[in-house]
């Protein structure tokens, strides 16, 4: 048992947790940030993807103790001042979800891949999505949403 301190969605948190607590359980159970989902628990589905120090990682495959002192962003931290993040907007506009269970992980992965690659072709987006599984509807609209979001964000940067 140790007191863990980290910055989650811009807020300093400091909470006691067992050494064996996984980051995903820390976020969901201790901080009540239940937007980060547990789909498989074997590191395959990607529903638990969050950003640690700006990089997408699977929160089921690291211990909370490893994030001590780090900057963590979850799906709850993307919208700013009541306005959805452009990737969230693009998923809504392109029907990039059905049941929505995989969506938080898809969106966190998408934000990370756009940060690294900017505008991508569809093959690149599919390769980047290898760690995220959707069981509802397939990937066509997810890929379209990410393609659209990347264009919007790049255009936004140019305008700014």
């Amino acid at each position: 048992m140790a007191v863990l301190s980290m910055t989650v969605n811009g807020k300093e948190v400091s909470t006691e947790a067992e050494d064996r607590t996984l980051l995903v359980n820390f976020l969901r159970e201790q901080l009540r940030l239940t937007g980060t989902h547990i789909g498989c628990d074997t590191s395959q589905c990607g529903a638990c993807v969050v950003h640690v120090d700006g990089k997408a990682v699977k929160a089921c495959s690291m211990f909370a103790a490893q994030a001590e002192g780090a900057r963590v962003t979850t799906i709850e931290g993307l919208a700013k001042d009541g306005k959805l993040h452009p990737v969230q907007e693009a998923f809504r506009d392109n029907h990039g979800l059905q049941c929505g269970f995989c969506t938080p992980g898809m969106i966190m992965t998408a934000v990370d891949m756009i940060r690294r690659n900017g505008v991508m072709d569809r093959d690149t987006i599919r390769h980047e999505l290898e760690g995220n599984i959707c069981r509802c509807t397939g990937y066509v609209n997810i890929v379209t949403a990410i393609e659209d979001a990347a264009k919007r964000m790049t255009a936004g940067e140019k305008a700014a």
Binding site: E18, R20, S61, T109, D112
Partner: protein
Amino acid sequence: MITYPFTYKRARSVAEAEALLKAAPDGKLLAGGQTLIAAMKMRLANPSDLIDISGIEELRHVRASGDAVVIGAGTTHYEVASSAVVAKAVPALAHLASLIGDPAVRHKGTLGGSVANNDPAADYPAAVLGLGATIRTSRRAIAADDFFQGMFATALEDGEIVTEISFPVPQKAAYRKFPNPASRYAMAGAFVARLKDGSIRVAITGAAPCVFRVPEMEAALAKSFTPEAVAGIAVDAAALNSDIHGSAEYRAHLVTVMAKRAVADAA
């Protein structure tokens, strides 16, 4: 899934990691944790202590050094895949790193972790053996030919820590794998290289209990570095893995196909 209890410790230097490891009844090093944590969650591993080495700066570097590229053991797959130094000196190595797992796994998993674990289907062992790299540890330097000793078995002694790997810059090299469609682990992967001294190395991962070289293919490629040279050479299926994903005969077939494709990419 919850792991057995353990004590988590952070090491700030290789020396401190060695000391913590020595003091623990059954300690294990935690680098990227992308294999270890999964095994712990399945309760297949039950270390008393986890010594986190991911924050050790001296393990995280990529540098060109004469005719070699030296990569710190703590360098992530993502860092290798996106390194301009690696892309220039050994593009096949950067390409190999970009094929491991998925982006989130590549952000955490490390070169040293992959090589020390020596999973039969891991990608890095193919590059280490295929380039004849040197593994440097907290105690010594080990040639790739002596390092990989069997399924999940290496020349590493208790408490010995991989610190960096020196990869010779080849004349040409390429890696091709047939990934398992679900896990992305190699069903068979071939790393083919012609080194600067003209020697040829062919290393195969994923197909057998441990990465191995194919001397018949190396001899054929020394005469003619073309895909046709290896097209008729098959490895013995008797020594290969057979599981729900594929029979040994199927893997033997894949080995030849992947070797052919790797030669075509390199040539």
